[in-house]
Point group: C2
Chain length 618, copies 2
Amino acid sequence: MSSTPPSRSFGTVGVVRTHVVRLELPPGGYVLDNGARLTEIDVAYETYGRRSASDDNVVFVCHALSGSAHAAGQHEPADPAEPAWWDEMIGPGRGIDTSHYHVICANILGGCKGTTGPASAAPDTGKPYGSRFPDLTVGDVVGVHRLLLLQLGIRRLAAVVGGSFGGMQVLEWAIRFPGMVARCIIIASCAGLTAQALAFDIVGRKAIQFDPDWQNGDYYGTGKAPVKGLSLARKVGHITYLSREIMAEKFGRERWTAEDVTPGTADGESRVNKFQVQTYLEHQGEKFTQRFDANSYLKITRAMDEYDAAARHGSLEAACARIEAKVLVVAASSDWLFPPEQSTEITNAMVRAGKAVSYCLLTAPYGHDAFLVDVEHLPDVIRAFLPWVERPSTVVPGEQHASDAAAPAVLDSEDRREYQIITRMVRPGSRVLDLGCGSGTLLTMLAREKQTRGVGVEIDVRQVIDVIERGHEVLQADIDGGLAMIPDGSYDYAILSETLQVVRKPRLVLGEMLRVAKEGIVSFPNFANWRHRASLWLTGRMPKNKGLPFEWYDTPNIHLFTYEDFVELCRVDGIRILDVEFLTDDLVGKALVGLGAGNLGANSVLVRVTRDGREGGA
Amino acid sequence: MSSTPPSRSFGTVGVVRTHVVRLELPPGGYVLDNGARLTEIDVAYETYGRRSASDDNVVFVCHALSGSAHAAGQHEPADPAEPAWWDEMIGPGRGIDTSHYHVICANILGGCKGTTGPASAAPDTGKPYGSRFPDLTVGDVVGVHRLLLLQLGIRRLAAVVGGSFGGMQVLEWAIRFPGMVARCIIIASCAGLTAQALAFDIVGRKAIQFDPDWQNGDYYGTGKAPVKGLSLARKVGHITYLSREIMAEKFGRERWTAEDVTPGTADGESRVNKFQVQTYLEHQGEKFTQRFDANSYLKITRAMDEYDAAARHGSLEAACARIEAKVLVVAASSDWLFPPEQSTEITNAMVRAGKAVSYCLLTAPYGHDAFLVDVEHLPDVIRAFLPWVERPSTVVPGEQHASDAAAPAVLDSEDRREYQIITRMVRPGSRVLDLGCGSGTLLTMLAREKQTRGVGVEIDVRQVIDVIERGHEVLQADIDGGLAMIPDGSYDYAILSETLQVVRKPRLVLGEMLRVAKEGIVSFPNFANWRHRASLWLTGRMPKNKGLPFEWYDTPNIHLFTYEDFVELCRVDGIRILDVEFLTDDLVGKALVGLGAGNLGANSVLVRVTRDGREGGA
């Protein structure tokens, strides 16, 4: 599944036009979070894909700091200074598939791309607001977009999607207008900037404010603008958007030589011997001053800095408790401006609030820019999370996905037998955590046959995408890192299938399982199986057979143990064994198990356990 | 050993005075690397500790970007704007122990702390150089310091020590003047900035140059100076000096409240509601403009950016081939401006050039600032590397250290027996790599009894410090990460004592051993020992006894195998076993080994191996 790579050709949503609409505001105007009022607001927006008759296919895309409504397609005439900023993601067959969805992207309040901002004419004077433009919040930005959508007759969104500052808007959408959003995708974002990110913004703004041409914000019509300050701010920004690794790869310590530049041109000559990273920054800085307004930069970065999703509600968990949407949080491994820890912070708050959330960590060297450039799995994970038609926002046990039919699980007979036993052990309608869930086959089986609500934990991103596509929640994580994000007693069952022997700290994992779930269901290879014993006893070699198929030097099974060893650990740690199934694949083993010698006969063992003192039966 | 923490009281080197000396230059002046000449150079320096009669105890300390000659002690009258920048490291009993060493620190060329720089009067005009001051290189800086030392009658340095930009100077000292330096300590530094670090410097300089008060560098005497630009540059710098983690811890998203500030003061009121990180940056920026010259900042950061130790010699390895000093490279784990990879780059070049180098990675949350603030192990590692008196710079096999007598190795009888067998196997005078060398006991035994030149690899920093103190080279590294830094055939023997079973990829480690060394000496527990076999066979439990003392769930032995398994891997991988010693600790085992049943009798096994096709006998 998710096997078709997105097309790389441009312009598949065709030629688009930016619309500008004047909002119908209530009398007295639009009241901002800080109490200021705007009596006139224009909003620039674009749409891609056909809107369904029932309005159930609308996806709203939130742009980042320097974006615009022009997310996809081509303008006519084409404007090279303003290319579509997410063209690779939006289009037929792409991550946000315009064959199915009606996509809307609008410029934000305070911006300079058609929506009202500091450079717009104030209605009272007819002259640009300049220093009079009020301070904004992320909530103000989202509120204006909501008014736009209502004016367009849209009362519910199939999804809201955005990265970076756009992701903050998505989070605020979900918290502020919970009834209006079915699904949210928050990419490379956070619930509040780190001190380091704040610091870079503070420096960037200071660079603009130090520029004498800024004139305290009232530079419009003076023939001067703080281009030096704005270009400095943008240079700082661009350093933070790339990872150290990608900067090393793109530029290293390379310099321009006379052969690299056009001879005889002043621009060319001036580059010779400069570091390539210098001319890159200069180019980015200069380009930005031609297409962006310094006051917008100040207002938007202030709103970004001030954003703290937790603040209004006491804690991020309390804020997330308001959310009704299914949420997908995506982080990029090398993003140091909005680092993955901040995405897991949102994820963990959602988990603690008992909300539906999936988390996916994409391995990408690009830094924060990852969400805008070609990341291997980003379109796939978005496509997997966005079903073709809107479904109810609450999780439906056993929700049927197209992909289930398209790619039926291929199980070998032993896995199937084990899954059947587990399915038998689990009570209908219970909450299940599958640790090391693979592509979600067991979760799907449990959902179908026992109507469970299942959450998976899995480290492999391709499997994570499969689990999402099957409609389950999944957290991309290394089980060995612990389950700290999950509150005590969140699940009826935690399942650990053939995994205990590969983790680094099996005792810790077992303890964590029984902290987050009332019962654990664990299967593991039994090293005391008669064939393993005989192999070691008779040949003096480590056993290698169907049950333990690896060579000693490349086995993932780094903690070998027997059923009796497991029983002893349970005794020591106060764990009660409620059920045991001895699994065998040979006649001798079956006979031994039949004679009560499970530890000798079993090839692998499946147990259901609970903490001593807890009731049996989830 | 290394157990005494450095004293935390200040001023232990007492009251010091900065001397300023005019260099005696050759006719025509001092020729810089770019061909420019300076006909008059003053150098400011300080000294701490008594100079020995034979001048064999001189340690030269190189300061970083914004440092000065005032590295330790107190000035009288005290100048709060210029506190001693490394007072915690230099003093009696401290990392650089002034009870034994005569320490010299001098302000760098181009600086603004007493040594000739852009603000100094040019001899031809009597007015400040300003824009006329030439561009500098790190080599120019080091060359001027060398002239100072020669003028002071010092022809050889026991050590040169420095961090950050100071570390670049240390590296250049070792490359440019190899005969003059016995030991080098390069801390949190590099052989050339990363593209990211270049980018930050480029932005910082641009901030100064954009400031109208900079006046193209000729601002002296105009009553104006580019303080806004310089403060911006310093703010950017300070962000890069701290790690994201420490910024989060120090500032987070905290703001000043009315309770935090002095009421009624304009400064106090202005801070209310500001992020604490903002006032921190503002304070750092402002403070810096009061004590530093913008033109010096431009010249020094240019020299830093342009530094590329490899450039003059074709490669870093070729540059390192010139070095005669013993080198210690120290990195800080959370330093992202001069990241640990850059320290290992220097280390690896030294290894490839066959030079004496040790590498130590300090775990510290402080970021690049780690080397200036209180880092747990930095004084210890420096003290361990700096013997009390200068020794020859070449490695003397079996070099005796005070610490060897002070802390004789405590070995249990089995380790001792194993080490004795290994020592017997090793040919006199050979080169030995001890993988997982612990505190260097075996290396010391081999050096004493077989006059080997030994290098250790060890992951634990306290053990690394012990190995350094014993006078061996050591590389702090995880063996599982591979031995990529070591060229083929660098050693006669690679030793892996009781470690193969704890690494994640034993086959890879074995292969790497026999790539970097002609022979490998490997010891490991034998899982086929009769007691282990009997335990599993009879009790159905994993063996736990003296040879395998851990519970299955917390054992570090993640790859159990038998002697016969090892033999089979050798057969598959083309490894020849030259010697086998079966070690036992019981009578049954001894009897079995005596009967030729080594795989049944041996508790552990020690083998000497080589690649098939190679001659036996290193």
